[in-house]
Structures are given as C-alpha cells and as structure tokens.
C-alpha cells in the first residue's frame, strides 16, 4: 500500500516563529494563494452502510482487482501500524465495516459501480487545528499565560512606555540588549534603582526573559522610559510624580505606569492635581495607569477604597487577581463615588526582574498588576498605531475577559492581550 500523502503543519518554524506564522496567515487570508496543504491522502475508505460484512467486496478485491488483502484481525498481538501492511492493497477493519483501499482511479470507479451497499470516500488528512496556540512550548509566568500575552504577535515595538517608580537597574543582564531612557526626579539621587520595586515593575511591563529563557515581560520590544519618582527608601513627593508625568508626556510616551499610591479613606475625594495631570497626559495621547492599592484585608472583611492617584477618573485603576482568578486578598475596592476599579490583572506571586545581585524575584501586589496593564496597552498601541488613546482604552475594555466577580473589585475583568 502507498504511504499516505500528508501535509505539513504545526511545530515547523513557519508555524512556531511568530513573524513567519503571521506572514503566512496574512498571505493565506489576503493574498488568496491556494492552500498548499493537501486535503486527501490519495487513498480511499470503503464503508459498508448496511452492516459490517465485507465478504462481497473481498471477493471483488481478489477476483477482479487482484488486490492483496490485509485484515485488522491479523493484528491482535501487535498494534496496527502503517508500516505493518505496506504489502497490502486493501486493509479491512472487520469490526468497523470499513476498508482502507489503495487503488487507482479506474479501480475505484469499478468498485463504486459494483458495490451498491458501500460508499467510497477519499481518505482525509487530519491536522492539528489552526487555532491551537502556537507558543505552547515557551515557558512563561502564569500572568503572561492567563492574559494571553504569550500568544500575542505584538511586542510593543516602537511604543514608548514610561514606568514612574524607584528607577531602574541599568546593569541588569536581562536588559542588556535594551535601550532604556532613565531620569531621576528625586533630589540627590540618580535614576539607579536601589530599592527593587521599579526594576520589578519595568520587568513586567517591558521586560522579556530571565537567564533560563523563562518569559516574564509583556511588551518585550517597547522603548523603556524609567522615571524615578520614589526614593531609594520607597517614598516620593507628589510634585516629583507630577514632574515624572510631565517628562513622560514630553517624551511622547503612550503609556505611563504608576505602581504607587497613598491610602484613601471612605468619603475622601480624588486629588485634583493628579486628575489635571492625567487629563493633560490624555490630551497629549498618553494613558496613565495606577495601582488600586494593597490596603484591604478581604479575609478579615476589611475593604479599603482605591488609592490616590488611581482613584482619579482619568487614571486607569488596576486591581489584582491571583492565579485562580480570584480577587487578591489585599486588592482595594471601588467604594468612593467616581473612584472605580477599571480593570484587573495578575498581581499575586508575580515573577519579574529585581536589582542585582538578586536578579529575579517573585512578589505580590496591585503594583505588579499595574505593569501588566501598561504592557498590554503597549501591545494595543502597536496594533493600532493610528488609534486614538480613547479607542485604545476602549479596546482594552472590550477585550477584557469578564469574570464572575463584582465589578467593584475587578472592573470590566481580566485584561487580555491583542
């Protein structure tokens, strides 16, 4: 029997390499090139529509077509395998009432004419479905998997993302091939991160992989703008943060990520100065994202309102989820009017970069959820380079996966990468 004609699909370079797979997909969709993937193996299946009996075709096979016949019953002790019946022209599956036939066109036509209770159909090639994620072999954090960042074709290329935090460790080996623009707004301190928080947040938003090839960063090709607005002791004045926002806007950053906040009590309003800064950013094409805060202790029924500046209407407030997609115990809640949680992202046990020599570290907090959103916004900005900032925000909301959780805790739900 002939070997089946088989197509090629999946695990080839053209399917696993993002750019190649994307090009191939676009070609198939838009260039209308006929698919080179065969549908049929060149062999036929003969199916008995009235039972399992194959006596009469068996006679035909022998007398008229001079077929060599194999039977699935011959393979009791060994498993049926393509190579074990290469000599046969027909393989009869007695239990199924089906025969696999390797005949030329004339023989097949004759068989069709002579056996009325049987249908003869070409054997189809079976493929792995097209929509299977092609990146199943790339190890990545749970956060990148659940937000489908690992499946995204976008990397934030040519998008400037600002992270306003404790600065950045410029000597970090995970970032040796990246260009980082760093600036300090903390008096008497350089932009070098001596805390770790900033390097962790930049890792999640714009990093790529650790030394083992384990991926933890979302917008891995984005241009990084590290603004130091919190001191090495982890505190900052409001005016430093306003300086950082202004700097990011002047540098045409599209996304401004702020994993920082001060505690807000029930009944407190949002800070007008921050709101003005966020509106100024929006009017210049930049989205500000901020952490909802970690002051709640849900296991003790303590719920604290969204922190400042995340509580400003023009700032996207990000809540934290754990890997079971439950609200993180510490994640704050929409309590004060106008101060809503907008969206949620992974924020428990998040692995990312840390200042050297520690290099990498796993921590939790809405501070870790925020850069996930900043990175995903970066991917969206790459996907829609002509899109306005409002359209991009809208798309982020539209794509979010709805969760069976209250909107006051997770907003529209879990952010999903484009």
């Amino acid at each position: 029997m002939r070997q089946p004609i088989l197509g090629k699909r999946t695990f080839l370079k053209e399917n696993t390499d993002h750019s190649k797979a994307f090009e191939k997909y676009m070609n198939e969709c838009y260039e209308r090139v006929a698919s080179s993937v065969p549908l049929f193996t060149g062999r036929h299946l003969m199916v008995n529509t009235k039972g399992n009996d194959f006596k009469s075709p068996q006679k035909l096979f022998k007398d008229k077509l001079n077929f060599k016949i194999a039977n699935s019953r011959d393979f009791i002790s060994e498993n049926l395998n393509e190579t074990s019946f290469t000599d046969a022209d027909a393989l009869i599956y007695d239990e199924l009432g089906i025969a696999l036939i390797d005949g030329n066109e004339e023989q097949i036509r004759m068989l069709e004419a002579e056996s009325s209770d049987f249908i003869i159909q070409p054997e189809r090639v079976v493929y792995v479905p097209d929509d299977l994620p092609v990146s199943i072999n790339i190890p990545a954090t749970w956060g990148l998997n659940v937000t489908r960042v690992v499946d995204s074709n976008f990397t934030g290329r040519d998008v400037k993302i600002a992270v306003l935090d404790t600065g950045f460790d410029a000597n970090h080996p995970d970032f040796c091939d990246r260009e980082v623009v760093a600036e300090s707004f903390v008096p008497n301190e350089t932009s070098k991160d001596m805390h770790g928080h900033g390097t962790h947040c930049i890792g999640t938003a714009c990093g790529n992989k650790d030394s083992q090839g384990f991926r933890y960063g979302v917008a891995k090709s984005a241009n990084i703008y590290a603004g130091k607005v919190l001191s090495n002791e982890g505190s900052g004045a409001q005016s430093w943060i306003l300086n950082g926002i202004t700097w990011a806007v002047k540098n045409n950053c599209k996304v401004i990520s702020m994993s920082l906040g001060s505690k807000i009590y029930p009944g407190e309003g949002y800070d007008l100065a921050y709101e003005k800064a966020a509106k100024f950013a929006l009017s210049n094409g930049a989205i500000t994202v901020a952490a909802a805060g970690n002051d709640s202790r849900r296991s003790f029924k303590q719920y604290i309102p969204v922190s400042s500046p995340a509580n400003c209407p023009s700032v996207l407030a990000v809540g934290a989820l754990d890997s079971n997609l439950n609200v993180a115990d510490f994640s704050n809640r929409s309590i004060n009017p106008e101060s809503q949680i907008d969206i949620a992202a992974p924020g428990v046990s998040i692995y990312s970069s840390w200042i050297m020599p520690t290099r990498n570290r796993t921590i939790s907090g809405t501070s870790m959820a925020t850069p996930h959103i900043a990175g995903i916004l970066g991917l969206l900005c790459e996907k829609y380079p002509e899109g306005t900032i409002y359209e991009i925000k809208e798309e982020l909301r539209n794509m979010a996966r709805r969760l069976p959780l209250p909107g006051i805790d997770v907003g529209v739900g879990l952010a999903i990468a484009p």
Binding site: L242, S259, A273, N294
Partner: protein, 77 residues
C-alpha cells in the same frame, strides 16, 4: 512652619499665569514647579495657607502628600 504644597488653579485663570504667580509670591510662596495643566508646587508658611486659599485663581491648596511603598523585603508591594 514651612510646608511643601501643591496648588490646583481655577481653569479660568490659566491664561493669566504670570499674574497668578506674582500674587502667590506676594503671599510668601516659594514657587518650585509650574505645570502647564494648571498645577503649581512650592513651599509656604502654614500661617499663610488661608490667604492663598482666598485667592480667586486658587481652586485648591493641599500639602504635598508623600507616597510610600513598602520596604524591599515586603512580600506585598
């Protein structure tokens, strides 16, 4: 006592920022930063807060709120 403050301006007075700044200085404020979105930061004696709050162009005067994150050893950031 001198305090770090952040002033949010009334939008109607954004055009006359120079005038506003001189009014603020007259009340003893040391201007540190002027943001084009209508926010000014600086230093002021606490006893002069009420005078500045009384100005028409000032919508809001607040002490600069410090923001703190946990020490590096903290598990929840």
């Amino acid at each position: 006592m001198k305090k770090n403050i952040v002033i949010t301006l009334n939008d109607h007075y954004l055009e006359e920022i120079d005038n506003t700044l001189s009014n603020l200085r007259k009340e003893g404020m040391i201007i540190k930063n002027v943001y084009e979105f209508g926010v000014i930061s600086g230093v002021l004696e606490e006893e002069n807060f009420s005078k500045i709050r009384a100005l028409d162009e000032v919508l809001l005067l607040k002490e600069d709120k410090n923001i703190n994150i946990p020490p590096p050893s903290g598990g929840i950031q």
